[in-house]
């Protein structure tokens, strides 16, 4: 879906856990997430701590969208 949306010319950042799959399939901007069942959360932490994690991921996602790239790039947030 990432590539299909990006084919219209708007940047898409993929926030996902299995970075290798995203890379093989061909997403261009990738932000590695926490885990499959909770990519932008962590149920072992408090709600406040989770918000901190989520903010970091979203910030990195926004940063990735503003970064010029020429090839697939992973933007680690955590």
């Amino acid at each position: 879906m990432v590539k299909a949306i990006e084919s219209y010319g708007i940047p898409v950042v993929h926030v996902c856990t299995i970075v290798p799959i995203s890379q093989t399939v061909g997403a261009n901007r990738i932000v590695p997430a926490v885990a499959i069942p909770h990519p932008l959360g962590d149920p072992t932490r408090t709600h406040e701590e989770e918000l901190v994690i989520r903010r970091k991921l979203v910030e990195k996602a926004l940063e990735a969208l503003q970064t010029p790239i020429t090839e697939q790039t992973v933007f680690p947030a955590l």
């Binding site: 879906m1 990432v2 590539k3 299909a4 949306i5 990006e6 084919s7 219209y8 010319g9 708007i10 940047p11 898409v12 950042v13 993929h14 926030v15 996902c16 856990t17 995203s22 093989t24 399939v25 061909g26 261009n28 901007r29 997430a33 499959i36 069942p37 909770h38 990519p39 932008l40 959360g41 149920p43 709600h47 989770e50 918000l51 989520r54 903010r55 991921l57 979203v58 910030e59 996602a61 926004l62 969208l65 503003q66 970064t67 010029p68 790239i69 020429t70 090839e71 697939q72």
Partner: protein
């Protein structure tokens, strides 16, 4: 009964002219034209060509949608049982046209259709999955073999016979995976394959690995403070109750939901429909998959101008690549039409 066949050809094979006539619009003749004579012979009375539709290759390429509509109407008016297109050999525009016409006949008229092309004709890669293409030589000198092969396949399709493998029936492999049963269980096949590989002997893999196409990276957002950002997810987050019944696996659809005044994806109003991961954490706090709470925070703080009023969701569990692409194209079109500048797509 004699099957009624319509034949599609280009301006050159119709004897109208060469490149200088490639811009002619579609026309129909209630006659057998050009290579149609060879087909007539090959059909040996079981089928007859009741009409020939002709179109210039360049006209087709430059008016694909309209030309296809017109051609389909012309074909349909002749009330055929089946259609044969080409053969196009290695002519690229002609191959694309034959493929496009055959594809439209298959999808819109639902009748058997066969075309023929040289395997490297670009029309093959474009259409192999949806239609049957008989491999031919790279030039019209191969017509002696191409026509009987195409006629044979078409007659088989008309007679209702179930088509077998590409090798058996004489068509270019379509890249479609078909289940089959072997003599031995998979485990035995795997051990034997390893033994061969270890010995350096030849073996045949049952699944050749694909290579994936690429999309060029889109230009970055230059002015984030004035940008509209949309969020999309394959993690299956949807309104509580999954009102559109998005499937837990092999999703056949995506949903688009309004989040205009929604500040957070809370568990009271949202849930996940995805069956491929433990749903507990996503159901307890859907923001863990669809981060609305944090996105609203940043919208309020002015980091970007606006969070798009809708989010789209599907379930990325066993979703076929073709469907994922279809959903992505549909979602993307709406986003672009509505002036979205960039997208955050979350996956589980």
């Amino acid at each position: 009964m004699t099957y009624r066949i319509v034949h599609y050809i280009n301006q050159f094979f119709a004897g109208i002219g060469g490149e200088e006539k490639a811009d002619i619009a579609p026309e129909v003749r209630k006659a057998v034209v050009g290579p149609g004579m060879a087909f007539k012979a090959a059909f040996a009375g079981k089928a007859e060509i009741v009409g020939t539709v002709i179109c210039g290759d360049t006209y087709f390429a430059e008016h694909i949608d309209d030309a296809t509509d017109t051609i389909i109407k012309m074909i349909s008016d002749l009330k055929p049982d089946a259609v044969v297109a080409g053969p196009a050999f290695n002519a690229g525009r002609y191959g694309t046209a034959c493929g496009g016409v055959a594809d439209a006949v298959s999808k819109r008229l639902g009748i058997p259709v066969v075309t023929g092309m040289y395997p490297e004709n670009p029309g093959v890669d474009m259409y192999r999955k949806s239609i049957y293409i008989v491999p031919t030589a790279d030039s019209a000198r191969g017509i002696k073999d191409a026509v009987p092969a195409m006629a044979k396949l078409l007659l088989k399709m008309l007679e209702g016979g179930k088509l077998g493998s590409p090798a058996a029936e004489g068509y270019i492999p379509r890249g479609i995976r078909i289940n089959t049963f072997y003599e031995e269980p998979g485990a035995d096949r795997a051990v034997k394959m390893l033994v061969k590989k270890l010995k350096g002997e030849q073996f045949v893999t049952e699944y050749p690995m694909p290579s994936f196409d690429r999309v060029a990276p889109a230009a970055p957002v230059k002015d984030m403070k004035n940008a509209t950002i949309a969020v999309v997810t394959s993690g299956g987050i949807c309104p509580k109750g999954n009102p559109d019944h998005i499937e837990a696996s092999s999703a056949s659809k995506f949903g688009t939901y309004c989040i205009k005044d929604v500040q957070t994806a809370d568990s009271e109003h949202y849930q996940t429909a995805h069956g491929g991961y433990d749903p507990t954490y996503a159901n307890d706090d859907p923001n863990r998959v669809l981060p609305l709470d944090v996105l609203r925070e940043k919208e309020k703080a002015g980091e970007f101008k606006k969070l798009y009023d809708y989010f789209s969701t599907t379930v990325g569990n066993g979703t076929s690549i073709a469907n994922a692409k279809k959903f992505g194209l549909a979602i993307g079109k709406k986003l672009v039409d509505d002036g979205v500048d960039a997208v955050i797509l979350t996956s589980t």
